[in-house]
Chain length 213, copies 2
Protein backbone atom coordinates (compact mmCIF):
# COMPACT_ATOMS: atom_id res chain seq x y z
CA UNK A 1 0.00 0.00 0.00
CA UNK A 2 1.17 3.51 -0.72
CA UNK A 3 2.29 5.95 1.94
CA UNK A 4 0.59 9.11 3.11
CA UNK A 5 3.32 11.72 3.14
CA UNK A 6 4.17 15.37 2.79
CA UNK A 7 7.23 17.51 2.17
CA UNK A 8 7.35 21.13 3.23
CA UNK A 9 9.86 23.90 3.74
CA UNK A 10 10.02 25.61 7.12
CA UNK A 11 12.14 28.37 8.57
CA UNK A 12 14.73 27.46 11.18
CA UNK A 13 12.31 28.91 13.74
CA UNK A 14 9.58 26.55 12.59
CA UNK A 15 7.27 28.59 10.37
CA UNK A 16 5.69 27.43 7.12
CA UNK A 17 4.51 30.96 6.39
CA UNK A 18 5.36 34.39 7.70
CA UNK A 19 3.03 36.89 9.41
CA UNK A 20 0.22 38.59 7.50
CA UNK A 21 -0.95 35.68 5.36
CA UNK A 22 -3.81 36.52 3.00
CA UNK A 23 -5.29 35.38 -0.29
CA UNK A 24 -2.94 37.84 -2.00
CA UNK A 25 0.09 36.81 0.12
CA UNK A 26 -0.46 33.15 0.94
CA UNK A 27 3.04 32.70 2.37
CA UNK A 28 2.96 35.88 4.48
CA UNK A 29 5.81 38.33 4.94
CA UNK A 30 9.15 36.76 4.05
CA UNK A 31 7.56 33.37 3.38
CA UNK A 32 8.66 33.23 -0.26
CA UNK A 33 12.25 32.97 0.97
CA UNK A 34 11.42 29.48 2.22
CA UNK A 35 11.26 28.35 -1.39
CA UNK A 36 14.29 30.10 -2.94
CA UNK A 37 16.23 26.82 -2.91
CA UNK A 38 13.44 25.15 -4.94
CA UNK A 39 12.84 27.97 -7.42
CA UNK A 40 16.49 27.75 -8.44
CA UNK A 41 16.26 24.10 -9.47
CA UNK A 42 15.93 22.90 -13.04
CA UNK A 43 13.70 20.07 -11.75
CA UNK A 44 11.29 22.49 -10.07
CA UNK A 45 11.16 24.89 -13.01
CA UNK A 46 10.43 22.06 -15.44
CA UNK A 47 7.67 20.49 -13.34
CA UNK A 48 5.93 23.54 -11.99
CA UNK A 49 6.24 26.28 -14.52
CA UNK A 50 7.41 24.57 -17.72
CA UNK A 51 10.54 26.68 -17.85
CA UNK A 52 14.02 25.83 -19.06
CA UNK A 53 17.14 26.63 -17.08
CA UNK A 54 17.92 26.29 -13.42
CA UNK A 55 20.52 24.31 -11.52
CA UNK A 56 21.01 20.69 -10.47
CA UNK A 57 22.23 20.04 -6.95
CA UNK A 58 21.54 17.86 -3.92
CA UNK A 59 17.99 19.23 -3.76
CA UNK A 60 17.13 17.82 -7.20
CA UNK A 61 16.69 14.29 -5.84
CA UNK A 62 14.42 15.55 -3.07
CA UNK A 63 12.12 17.41 -5.47
CA UNK A 64 12.02 14.51 -7.92
CA UNK A 65 11.20 12.01 -5.17
CA UNK A 66 8.47 14.28 -3.83
CA UNK A 67 6.57 14.06 -7.09
CA UNK A 68 7.33 10.42 -7.95
CA UNK A 69 4.80 7.62 -7.34
CA UNK A 70 2.01 10.00 -6.35
CA UNK A 71 -1.49 8.64 -6.89
CA UNK A 72 -3.49 11.50 -5.36
CA UNK A 73 -3.18 14.73 -3.40
CA UNK A 74 -5.04 16.22 -0.42
CA UNK A 75 -4.91 19.93 0.31
CA UNK A 76 -6.66 22.62 2.30
CA UNK A 77 -8.99 25.13 0.69
CA UNK A 78 -6.41 27.92 0.88
CA UNK A 79 -3.92 25.89 -1.07
CA UNK A 80 -6.45 25.19 -3.82
CA UNK A 81 -6.95 28.93 -4.02
CA UNK A 82 -8.36 30.60 -0.95
CA UNK A 83 -11.93 31.75 -1.15
CA UNK A 84 -13.64 33.86 1.50
CA UNK A 85 -16.77 31.79 2.10
CA UNK A 86 -18.95 29.69 -0.22
CA UNK A 87 -17.85 29.12 -3.81
CA UNK A 88 -20.43 31.52 -5.32
CA UNK A 89 -21.11 31.02 -9.00
CA UNK A 90 -18.32 28.43 -9.33
CA UNK A 91 -16.31 30.50 -11.77
CA UNK A 92 -13.22 30.54 -9.49
CA UNK A 93 -11.11 27.53 -10.51
CA UNK A 94 -8.22 27.94 -8.03
CA UNK A 95 -4.91 29.63 -8.61
CA UNK A 96 -3.09 26.80 -10.34
CA UNK A 97 -4.28 27.78 -13.83
CA UNK A 98 -6.06 25.54 -16.33
CA UNK A 99 -3.21 22.96 -16.31
CA UNK A 100 -2.30 22.48 -12.63
CA UNK A 101 1.00 20.72 -11.86
CA UNK A 102 -0.66 17.77 -10.07
CA UNK A 103 -1.77 15.51 -12.97
CA UNK A 104 -3.75 13.38 -10.52
CA UNK A 105 -6.91 13.54 -8.39
CA UNK A 106 -6.74 16.29 -5.76
CA UNK A 107 -9.05 16.25 -2.72
CA UNK A 108 -9.67 19.74 -1.30
CA UNK A 109 -10.84 19.90 2.32
CA UNK A 110 -13.42 22.66 2.70
CA UNK A 111 -16.57 23.51 4.63
CA UNK A 112 -18.35 24.45 1.42
CA UNK A 113 -19.64 21.75 -0.94
CA UNK A 114 -18.90 22.06 -4.61
CA UNK A 115 -19.03 19.83 -7.70
CA UNK A 116 -15.69 18.39 -8.88
CA UNK A 117 -13.59 20.29 -11.41
CA UNK A 118 -11.77 18.53 -14.23
CA UNK A 119 -8.72 20.49 -15.33
CA UNK A 120 -6.30 19.91 -18.19
CA UNK A 121 -3.37 17.50 -17.82
CA UNK A 122 -5.15 14.95 -15.65
CA UNK A 123 -5.78 17.06 -12.56
CA UNK A 124 -9.23 16.82 -10.99
CA UNK A 125 -10.28 18.79 -7.93
CA UNK A 126 -12.88 17.11 -5.69
CA UNK A 127 -14.21 19.01 -2.69
CA UNK A 128 -14.55 17.11 0.58
CA UNK A 129 -16.66 18.55 3.40
CA UNK A 130 -16.29 15.63 5.85
CA UNK A 131 -12.80 16.58 7.07
CA UNK A 132 -9.21 15.54 6.49
CA UNK A 133 -9.68 11.91 7.49
CA UNK A 134 -12.39 11.43 4.86
CA UNK A 135 -10.31 13.26 2.28
CA UNK A 136 -7.29 11.01 2.93
CA UNK A 137 -9.50 7.91 2.71
CA UNK A 138 -10.86 8.99 -0.67
CA UNK A 139 -7.36 9.88 -1.86
CA UNK A 140 -6.02 6.48 -0.78
CA UNK A 141 -8.73 4.78 -2.77
CA UNK A 142 -8.06 6.92 -5.84
CA UNK A 143 -4.29 6.42 -5.52
CA UNK A 144 -4.64 2.68 -6.13
CA UNK A 145 -1.56 1.64 -4.15
CA UNK A 146 0.52 4.68 -4.99
CA UNK A 147 1.31 7.43 -2.45
CA UNK A 148 -1.02 10.14 -1.20
CA UNK A 149 0.70 13.50 -0.86
CA UNK A 150 -0.63 16.13 1.53
CA UNK A 151 -0.02 19.49 -0.10
CA UNK A 152 -0.71 21.73 2.90
CA UNK A 153 -1.26 24.23 4.35
CA UNK A 154 0.07 23.96 7.85
CA UNK A 155 -3.35 23.54 9.42
CA UNK A 156 -4.24 20.56 7.23
CA UNK A 157 -0.85 18.95 7.95
CA UNK A 158 -1.26 19.42 11.70
CA UNK A 159 -4.73 17.88 11.59
CA UNK A 160 -3.43 14.93 9.58
CA UNK A 161 -0.48 14.40 11.96
CA UNK A 162 -2.72 14.65 15.02
CA UNK A 163 -5.18 12.16 13.52
CA UNK A 164 -2.39 9.63 12.89
CA UNK A 165 -2.87 9.73 9.13
CA UNK A 166 0.73 10.48 8.10
CA UNK A 167 3.43 7.88 7.38
CA UNK A 168 6.31 10.16 6.39
CA UNK A 169 7.08 13.83 6.87
CA UNK A 170 9.69 15.67 4.81
CA UNK A 171 10.91 18.86 6.42
CA UNK A 172 13.27 21.13 4.49
CA UNK A 173 14.84 23.54 6.95
CA UNK A 174 15.73 26.91 5.47
CA UNK A 175 18.25 29.32 7.10
CA UNK A 176 15.68 32.03 7.65
CA UNK A 177 14.11 33.30 10.88
CA UNK A 178 10.58 34.61 10.27
CA UNK A 179 9.84 35.47 13.92
CA UNK A 180 6.12 34.87 13.63
CA UNK A 181 3.57 33.31 11.31
CA UNK A 182 2.12 29.83 11.06
CA UNK A 183 4.06 26.96 12.60
CA UNK A 184 4.01 23.46 11.18
CA UNK A 185 4.43 21.58 14.46
CA UNK A 186 2.25 23.49 16.93
CA UNK A 187 0.38 21.42 19.46
CA UNK A 188 1.81 18.05 18.44
CA UNK A 189 3.79 17.24 21.60
CA UNK A 190 4.12 13.52 22.14
CA UNK A 191 3.93 12.51 18.49
CA UNK A 192 6.73 9.96 18.02
CA UNK A 193 9.10 10.33 15.08
CA UNK A 194 12.04 8.42 13.69
CA UNK A 195 14.64 10.24 11.60
CA UNK A 196 14.98 8.56 8.19
CA UNK A 197 17.57 10.82 6.58
CA UNK A 198 19.17 14.24 6.40
CA UNK A 199 20.49 15.66 3.14
CA UNK A 200 22.66 18.76 2.92
CA UNK A 201 21.95 20.96 -0.08
CA UNK A 202 22.77 24.57 -0.97
CA UNK A 203 20.75 26.85 1.31
CA UNK A 204 18.60 24.10 2.81
CA UNK A 205 18.74 20.88 4.84
CA UNK A 206 16.27 18.18 3.83
CA UNK A 207 15.18 16.04 6.80
CA UNK A 208 12.78 13.13 6.58
CA UNK A 209 10.91 11.40 9.38
CA UNK A 210 8.72 8.37 9.80
CA UNK A 211 5.73 8.93 12.06
CA UNK A 212 5.69 6.09 14.58
CA UNK A 213 2.19 4.72 15.28
CA UNK B 1 40.44 36.16 16.30
CA UNK B 2 38.38 33.30 17.67
CA UNK B 3 34.70 32.85 17.01
CA UNK B 4 31.80 33.25 19.38
CA UNK B 5 29.70 30.15 18.87
CA UNK B 6 27.30 27.69 20.40
CA UNK B 7 25.98 24.23 19.70
CA UNK B 8 22.67 23.07 21.10
CA UNK B 9 20.13 20.32 20.62
CA UNK B 10 16.54 21.25 19.90
CA UNK B 11 13.39 19.28 19.25
CA UNK B 12 11.96 19.30 15.73
CA UNK B 13 9.35 21.73 17.06
CA UNK B 14 12.07 24.11 18.24
CA UNK B 15 12.39 23.58 21.99
CA UNK B 16 15.65 23.46 23.95
CA UNK B 17 13.78 22.28 27.03
CA UNK B 18 10.37 20.82 27.69
CA UNK B 19 7.61 22.22 29.90
CA UNK B 20 7.99 22.39 33.68
CA UNK B 21 11.65 23.38 33.90
CA UNK B 22 12.98 23.70 37.45
CA UNK B 23 16.23 23.46 39.36
CA UNK B 24 15.49 19.75 39.80
CA UNK B 25 14.45 19.26 36.15
CA UNK B 26 16.50 21.79 34.19
CA UNK B 27 15.50 20.31 30.82
CA UNK B 28 11.80 20.06 31.65
CA UNK B 29 9.51 17.17 30.77
CA UNK B 30 10.94 15.07 27.96
CA UNK B 31 13.94 17.38 27.55
CA UNK B 32 16.52 14.72 28.34
CA UNK B 33 15.52 12.96 25.12
CA UNK B 34 17.16 15.83 23.23
CA UNK B 35 20.51 14.49 24.36
CA UNK B 36 20.12 10.73 23.89
CA UNK B 37 22.23 10.89 20.72
CA UNK B 38 25.09 12.50 22.70
CA UNK B 39 24.90 10.28 25.78
CA UNK B 40 25.44 7.26 23.55
CA UNK B 41 28.77 8.53 22.19
CA UNK B 42 32.15 7.37 23.40
CA UNK B 43 33.42 10.93 22.86
CA UNK B 44 30.76 12.43 25.11
CA UNK B 45 31.14 9.81 27.84
CA UNK B 46 34.91 10.29 27.94
CA UNK B 47 34.79 14.09 28.08
CA UNK B 48 31.83 14.67 30.32
CA UNK B 49 31.66 11.83 32.76
CA UNK B 50 35.00 10.04 32.47
CA UNK B 51 33.34 6.81 31.46
CA UNK B 52 34.48 4.08 29.11
CA UNK B 53 32.27 2.61 26.42
CA UNK B 54 29.85 4.19 24.01
CA UNK B 55 29.69 4.31 20.24
CA UNK B 56 31.46 6.18 17.45
CA UNK B 57 29.32 7.55 14.65
CA UNK B 58 28.78 10.69 12.57
CA UNK B 59 28.00 12.65 15.74
CA UNK B 60 31.50 12.02 17.13
CA UNK B 61 33.05 14.67 14.91
CA UNK B 62 30.42 17.21 15.94
CA UNK B 63 31.00 16.68 19.65
CA UNK B 64 34.79 16.74 19.26
CA UNK B 65 34.69 19.95 17.24
CA UNK B 66 32.38 21.56 19.77
CA UNK B 67 35.00 21.22 22.48
CA UNK B 68 38.09 21.89 20.35
CA UNK B 69 39.86 25.27 20.35
CA UNK B 70 37.72 26.69 23.16
CA UNK B 71 39.35 29.49 25.16
CA UNK B 72 36.44 30.41 27.41
CA UNK B 73 32.75 29.79 28.06
CA UNK B 74 29.78 32.02 28.83
CA UNK B 75 26.63 30.65 30.42
CA UNK B 76 23.50 31.72 32.21
CA UNK B 77 23.05 31.32 35.94
CA UNK B 78 20.75 28.34 35.55
CA UNK B 79 23.34 26.47 33.58
CA UNK B 80 25.99 27.06 36.23
CA UNK B 81 23.54 25.60 38.69
CA UNK B 82 20.28 27.45 39.23
CA UNK B 83 19.95 29.30 42.47
CA UNK B 84 16.76 30.98 43.63
CA UNK B 85 18.07 34.45 44.43
CA UNK B 86 21.38 35.66 45.88
CA UNK B 87 24.20 33.22 46.41
CA UNK B 88 23.82 33.10 50.21
CA UNK B 89 26.84 31.81 52.12
CA UNK B 90 28.63 30.85 48.89
CA UNK B 91 28.69 27.17 49.69
CA UNK B 92 26.80 26.24 46.51
CA UNK B 93 29.42 25.60 43.83
CA UNK B 94 27.15 24.74 40.89
CA UNK B 95 26.08 21.33 39.73
CA UNK B 96 29.14 20.40 37.70
CA UNK B 97 31.02 18.89 40.65
CA UNK B 98 34.51 19.82 41.82
CA UNK B 99 36.06 19.00 38.39
CA UNK B 100 33.72 20.60 35.83
CA UNK B 101 34.12 19.50 32.19
CA UNK B 102 35.09 23.00 30.94
CA UNK B 103 38.82 23.21 31.82
CA UNK B 104 38.77 26.93 30.95
CA UNK B 105 37.43 30.22 32.32
CA UNK B 106 33.63 30.28 32.50
CA UNK B 107 31.71 33.57 32.74
CA UNK B 108 28.33 33.19 34.42
CA UNK B 109 25.76 35.90 33.67
CA UNK B 110 23.77 36.64 36.83
CA UNK B 111 22.08 39.51 38.66
CA UNK B 112 23.84 38.57 41.88
CA UNK B 113 27.52 39.44 42.39
CA UNK B 114 29.82 36.78 43.71
CA UNK B 115 33.57 36.20 43.99
CA UNK B 116 35.12 33.88 41.39
CA UNK B 117 35.39 30.17 42.09
CA UNK B 118 38.45 28.16 41.12
CA UNK B 119 37.58 24.53 40.51
CA UNK B 120 39.80 21.54 39.79
CA UNK B 121 40.97 20.79 36.23
CA UNK B 122 41.39 24.39 35.10
CA UNK B 123 37.79 25.55 35.30
CA UNK B 124 37.16 28.93 36.91
CA UNK B 125 33.70 30.43 37.33
CA UNK B 126 33.54 34.25 37.25
CA UNK B 127 30.19 35.95 37.88
CA UNK B 128 29.26 38.85 35.60
CA UNK B 129 26.45 41.22 36.58
CA UNK B 130 26.73 43.61 33.60
CA UNK B 131 24.90 41.38 31.10
CA UNK B 132 25.74 39.03 28.27
CA UNK B 133 27.65 41.58 26.18
CA UNK B 134 30.09 42.27 29.03
CA UNK B 135 30.43 38.55 29.72
CA UNK B 136 31.27 37.83 26.07
CA UNK B 137 33.81 40.68 26.05
CA UNK B 138 35.54 39.28 29.13
CA UNK B 139 35.46 35.77 27.69
CA UNK B 140 36.96 36.97 24.40
CA UNK B 141 39.80 38.57 26.30
CA UNK B 142 40.40 35.45 28.38
CA UNK B 143 40.19 33.21 25.31
CA UNK B 144 43.28 34.84 23.77
CA UNK B 145 42.34 34.21 20.16
CA UNK B 146 40.62 30.91 20.70
CA UNK B 147 36.84 30.48 20.50
CA UNK B 148 34.25 31.57 23.04
CA UNK B 149 31.50 29.00 23.51
CA UNK B 150 28.08 30.03 24.78
CA UNK B 151 26.83 27.17 26.90
CA UNK B 152 23.19 28.29 27.25
CA UNK B 153 20.44 28.30 28.37
CA UNK B 154 18.05 29.39 25.68
CA UNK B 155 17.54 32.85 27.15
CA UNK B 156 21.27 33.65 27.14
CA UNK B 157 21.60 32.40 23.56
CA UNK B 158 18.65 34.50 22.39
CA UNK B 159 20.13 37.59 24.06
CA UNK B 160 23.50 36.95 22.45
CA UNK B 161 21.94 36.40 19.01
CA UNK B 162 19.79 39.52 19.32
CA UNK B 163 22.82 41.57 20.38
CA UNK B 164 24.80 40.42 17.33
CA UNK B 165 27.42 38.67 19.44
CA UNK B 166 27.31 35.24 17.76
CA UNK B 167 29.41 34.13 14.78
CA UNK B 168 28.24 30.53 14.43
CA UNK B 169 25.26 28.58 15.66
CA UNK B 170 25.18 24.79 15.74
CA UNK B 171 21.70 23.33 15.91
CA UNK B 172 21.26 19.60 16.35
CA UNK B 173 17.69 18.71 15.44
CA UNK B 174 16.29 15.74 17.31
CA UNK B 175 13.25 13.75 16.10
CA UNK B 176 11.16 14.61 19.15
CA UNK B 177 8.13 16.89 19.49
CA UNK B 178 7.95 18.44 22.96
CA UNK B 179 4.84 20.55 22.28
CA UNK B 180 5.79 23.30 24.72
CA UNK B 181 8.73 24.54 26.74
CA UNK B 182 11.51 27.02 25.99
CA UNK B 183 12.24 27.81 22.36
CA UNK B 184 15.72 28.67 21.12
CA UNK B 185 14.69 31.02 18.32
CA UNK B 186 11.79 33.02 19.79
CA UNK B 187 11.63 36.67 18.80
CA UNK B 188 14.59 36.65 16.42
CA UNK B 189 12.74 37.33 13.16
CA UNK B 190 14.96 39.08 10.65
CA UNK B 191 18.25 37.71 11.89
CA UNK B 192 20.15 36.65 8.74
CA UNK B 193 21.76 33.22 8.61
CA UNK B 194 23.82 31.27 6.13
CA UNK B 195 23.79 27.48 6.23
CA UNK B 196 27.33 26.14 6.63
CA UNK B 197 26.65 22.44 6.76
CA UNK B 198 24.23 19.64 7.57
CA UNK B 199 25.42 16.28 8.89
CA UNK B 200 23.20 13.21 9.15
CA UNK B 201 23.84 11.07 12.20
CA UNK B 202 21.86 8.37 14.00
CA UNK B 203 18.82 9.98 15.63
CA UNK B 204 19.89 13.57 14.97
CA UNK B 205 20.70 16.05 12.20
CA UNK B 206 23.53 18.47 12.92
CA UNK B 207 23.04 21.83 11.19
CA UNK B 208 25.46 24.74 11.40
CA UNK B 209 24.86 28.37 10.50
CA UNK B 210 26.88 31.52 10.20
CA UNK B 211 25.16 34.59 11.60
CA UNK B 212 25.38 37.30 8.93
CA UNK B 213 26.13 40.76 10.37
Amino acid sequence: MGKVRFGVAISLDGFMAGPGQSVEHPLGAGGMRLHDWAFALAAWRRMHVGLEGGVENASTQVVEEALANVGAFVMGRNMFGGHPGPWGDGSWRGWWGETPPFHAPVYVVTHHPRSPLAMRGGTTFAFVTEGVEAAVARAREAAGGRDVVLGGGASLLRQALAAGLVDEAGVSIVPVLLGSGERLFDGLGGLALEQLRAIEAPGVAHLRYRVVR
